[in-house]
């Protein structure tokens, strides 16, 4: 019996039913056999080895597992992998190109928006969703948009500054 987590694609235990799904991850279609109960966060982490999406609390409270599902921020710890079949998702690994960081990534580094880094991918994905909808947010709008994501290190002030830094850069780039 091979372990679910040894393989590139999860290979569940013998006799466990699986379903073949195709999910577009960061622009690339990925086909994978999954147990129907497998959580999307776990499919990304163990199945696709995209470990930038973190599992924090398992109850949708902390937001460390936030990804974009059809462009909207969702908590991937409370969605089943099979529910993503046929859909498009974005994770932190899709933010940068090989040569260039996304302005949100630059903003977090410039404004010291992270300490331990554990909440950071979720924070950045939630920020991306905000800035795509609202390219010129106020501080309060940023705080509200990130209120589903917990951070224990920074006190949020620099996270807010990071997002505003990115917003400014993105506006400048789009002009």
């Amino acid at each position: 019996m091979s372990s679910l987590y040894d393989e590139v694609a999860p290979a569940p235990a013998e006799g466990v039913p699986t379903r073949r799904i195709t999910v577009t991850v960061n622009g690339e279609p990925r086909t994978i056999d999954v147990e129907p109960r497998l959580l999307l966060a776990h499919m990304l982490r163990q199945g696709l080895k995209l470990t930038g999406t973190h599992s924090g609390c398992d109850t949708s409270n902390c937001g460390a597992c936030t990804i974009l599902f059809e462009g909207r921020p969702i908590k991937s710890c409370t969605m089943l992998a099979v529910q993503a079949d046929g859909h498009s998702i974005e994770t932190v690994e899709g933010l940068a190109t090989s040569s260039e960081l996304h302005p949100i990534q630059e903003g977090f580094k410039e404004e010291h928006g992270l300490h331990c880094g554990f909440c950071t991918p979720g924070m950045m994905m939630a920020s991306k969703a905000l800035l795509e909808k609202n390219p010129n947010p106020t501080e309060d709008e940023v705080r509200w948009a990130l209120s589903g994501n917990l951070c224990r290190c920074t006190g949020y002030q620099n996270i807010v500054k990071s997002v505003l830094w990115a917003a400014e850069k993105m506006r400048a780039e789009s002009n």
Partner: protein
């Protein structure tokens, strides 16, 4: 020409963090990200009961689930002498329960399976029969003469008492009280709180039968202490144990202790000869791992009517849970509680402390503080606030009168600490100016006329950070020094390793800045590594704000050793005697001719290619640093709030933080630490606490019940800086990571109490949830979060 220190990323540079490069790309390497070939997964079955005898455990159904490899119970651990392990405070803790369970969430069995889902399923298939026992959830119940003894496993255990402890001068204190004009009293509860880093605890144990080597990847703030403990507990030779702490998703003291999960995963790997991964879920983390606080504090202060403090006496009763597992220096039973009032000129003081076992999770870890100083300083600033009010004195002026003055250093505190530096009054003045203190009283009165309740709160304190000198500080007998090892390669690049352990503080960035400051090697040319006991020098890890005071000092000292050797090489290269050589950042030159010089990089190359006759080749060294004293940063925090009289909801209007942590290595990171700490202070003041029902059920076992502030609730912060260099630290730095968590909570409580003081209320216990504030407003009585506790005089 001398280098520009800021340009090379030296001291004082707001250098952007090296670690961010991986974290912002989602390329961090946390324990759960590590996958080893053939790895199995472990899940722990926890007790649903807080106190119960285990009558039987049936694991047969678990083994029927395909993919289950091993089920471990306490009996199997006992057969290998691993059912109990030592704690960091000379007590013992059950690894897997054998006789009875002593708190809800205690480890009862563990399943090792092909994947974590199977392991979770199998835990549900284990049948445990319990016989309920009376549950004790607070010290009042624990101290009752007919209380059930929780630790019946221990011989000669006197009821549920853990310790009695006292310090200070009782006679001198009694005398001060006899001479007092006014005696002011304060009694409060500092509720149990959980550090709750975003990442839970976890480990991957990998025992290699062929080599005999055990490698454990784990979430530890102190990997070397773990290695020593594993060597003692598992009876494995220390050189065959390698502990690796990779990236940690926060720690805050929660990842200092050694938890049963680590030990079980090690045995599981030895038995299965496969790597075994254990990743705790959030509930497991909140209900079983090291909590902070949970102390009842009562005291009184002897005052002269002009405002001079004459003496203070204080009593603490602490709730340690089922096992005394405080992470603290062994001499001090209630941590550094006796650092209370260290910033005030206090002639006489006396402290008595008693600790009790209860049916709650063990801990008493230093949650973002230096061993119980959070409780010490919270009590201090609540007491000071009450005393000023009792005397009818202004809060700032009462503090100004009693703070230790600049010319009184070095100052010996009533409890025997030696504070060595500070400009307390200056910090107070900076804060008063920034918050608009002089006009506040008028503002408050005018607001009251409009039906608005404004309040202002001050908290001033110095705290002992950086344990510590080896005369006083040890954990399990191991002295609390720290270390650094520096290797300069032939092209002038370098690798630095320390015995500290980063968990978000940015050591990779700041340690390189210290080397850059000492040697002139650009910070970008220096790799920093920590956390692997096979490569890092022995150190006591990171907690209690000790990294910069101790390991950071070692980094400076090892750099100076390197510079001393480079000087000899420079003399050889310049063909002059060593006495004729001068140093400027990054370069040695001939005193008589400044143009004639060699860079540190030239010296590095020569150390491998052209060393003087008789000199040992290479350019590397290490330093073990035993600090002569603790470092004493000072904080003055001001909080302004508005309380809604109709609902008890309070809003923060301003937070002003003035911090003096000596010389700042990277101001950007220092400010980040202060803002993070202020947020945890706000959290504890407003919402964050762990409580229990009378059956010992943990109320706060997940983030729906255990409230943490988000970006929405958290106020903004205004930071100010005062710099008084530490006189004994090689670069003048003091600890900073925890000042705001320590001094912050009292500023928030003092502000809310000030806003409602017209009702006669003197205290509202944390967390000051709207219902508590509303109760205070409507009854005019203090609001206590504690059951009535008898406190001995």
């Amino acid at each position: 020409m001398a280098l520009d220190e800021i340009k090379i990323g030296g001291m004082g540079a707001r250098r952007r963090r090296v670690e961010d490069n991986r974290f912002i790309r989602g390329k961090g390497n946390y324990v759960d990200d590590i996958v080893l070939q053939g790895m199995l997964h472990m899940e722990i079955l926890r007790s649903p009961m807080a106190h119960a005898r285990i009558k039987s455990i049936d694991v047969s159904k678990a083994y029927e689930i395909p993919g289950v490899r091993l089920v471990l119970t306490g009996e199997m651990m006992a057969a290998r002498n691993l059912a109990w392990m030592p704690t960091l405070s000379y007590d013992t803790q059950a690894v897997l329960a054998t006789d009875k369970v002593r708190f809800q969430g205690q480890e009862v069995a563990a399943v090792i399976a092909d994947d974590p889902y199977i392991a979770k399923d199998a835990c549900q298939a284990i049948v445990v029969e319990y016989e309920a026992l009376p549950v004790i959830v607070n010290p009042l119940q624990a101290m009752a003469s007919d209380a059930t003894v929780i630790r019946d496993d221990k011989e000669n255990q006197p009821g549920n008492k853990v310790f009695d402890w006292e310090i200070g001068d009782r006679e001198a204190t009694d005398k001060a009280f006899a001479e007092a004009d006014v005696i002011s009293k304060m009694e409060l509860h500092y509720p149990r709180s959980h550090p709750s880093p975003m990442e839970t605890c976890g480990s991957i144990a990998d025992f290699n039968r062929a080599t005999g080597k055990l490698t454990v990847y784990m979430t530890s703030q102190a990997p070397h202490i773990v290695r020593a403990a594993v060597a003692m507990v598992a009876e494995l030779p220390e050189h065959m144990i390698r502990i690796v702490s990779p990236d940690l998703g926060g720690g805050f003291g929660n990842k200092v202790p050694i938890y049963p999960g680590y030990v079980i995963s090690i045995l599981a790997s030895i038995l299965t000869e496969r790597p075994v991964k254990w990743i705790e879920d959030k509930t497991g983390n909140l209900i079983s791992t090291g909590f902070g606080r949970d102390v009842y504090l009562k005291g009184e202060m002897a005052l002269r009517k002009d405002g001079k403090i004459l003496g203070m006496r204080m009593n603490t009763i602490s709730d340690h849970g089922a096992f005394y597992a405080d992470a603290q220096p062994s001499k001090f039973k209630i941590g550094l509680m006796h650092s209370t009032f260290a910033c005030y000129d206090l002639p006489a003081a006396h402290l008595t402390s008693t600790g009790y076992y209860t049916n709650k999770a063990p801990g008493g870890v230093a949650y973002r503080c230096s061993f119980r100083v959070t409780e010490a300083m919270f009590f201090q600033e609540r007491m000071i606030h009450a005393a000023a009010d009792d005397l009818g004195m202004d809060q700032a002026e009462f503090r100004r009168m009693n703070l230790v003055k600049d010319d009184m250093f070095p100052y010996r505190t009533a409890f025997g600490f030696l504070t060595d530096s500070g400009q307390y009054e200056k910090c107070l003045n900076v804060g008063m100016e920034a918050i608009g203190y002089s006009t506040f009283k008028q503002e408050q009165e005018e607001a009251r006329k409009r039906g608005k309740l404004l309040g202002i709160g001050i908290s001033t304190m110095t705290e002992p950070l950086g344990a510590g000198n080896s005369r006083e500080y040890d954990i399990l007998g191991i002295k609390m020094f720290d270390s650094a090892e520096l290797r300069v390669h032939m092209t002038g690049k370098a690798i630095l390793r320390t015995g500290a352990m980063n968990q978000g503080q940015g050591h990779q960035t700041t340690w390189a800045q210290i080397v850059a400051h000492e040697l002139g090697i650009p910070a970008d040319d220096i790799t920093v590594e920590e956390g692997d006991t096979d490569t890092a020098p022995f150190g006591m890890g990171t907690y209690a704000s000790r990294s910069t005071p101790v390991a950071g000092a070692a980094v400076a000292m090892v750099s100076r050793k390197i510079r001393a050797k480079a000087r000899k090489i420079a003399a050889h290269l310049l063909e002059v005697s060593e006495e004729d050589i001068e140093w400027e950042l990054g370069r040695f030159y001939v005193r008589s001719n400044k143009e004639r010089g060699v860079t540190i990089q030239d010296c590095a190359l020569a150390a491998y290619s052209n060393m003087p006759d008789g000199m040992e080749p290479g350019l590397e060294n290490n330093a073990y640093y035993d600090p002569p004293n603790l470092t004493w940063p000072f904080a003055a925090y001001f909080v302004k709030v508005e309380v809604d009289a109709e609902t008890g909801v309070w809003d923060v209007l301003n937070v002003v933080a003035v911090d003096d942590c000596g010389v700042r290595i990277n101001p950007m990171i220092v400010e980040g630490q202060i803002m993070g700490g202020l947020t945890e202070a706000y959290a504890m003041a407003s919402m964050q606490y762990i409580t229990f029902d009378e059956e010992g059920n943990c109320i706060g076992s997940n983030y729906m019940d255990y409230l943490l502030p988000t970006a929405w609730e958290t106020p903004g912060f205004e930071l100010h800086e005062v710099v008084t260099p530490c006189p004994h630290h090689p670069i003048g730095a003091k600890g900073i990571g925890e000042c705001a968590t320590v001094a912050g909570p009292a500023a928030f409580v003092n502000a809310v109490v000030n806003a409602v003081s017209h009702t006669g209320v003197r205290n509202i216990d944390m967390p000051m949830m709207p219902n508590r504030v509303y109760e205070a407003l409507t009854t005019g009585k203090d609001v206590s979060g504690m059951p009535p506790v008898r406190i001995s005089e």
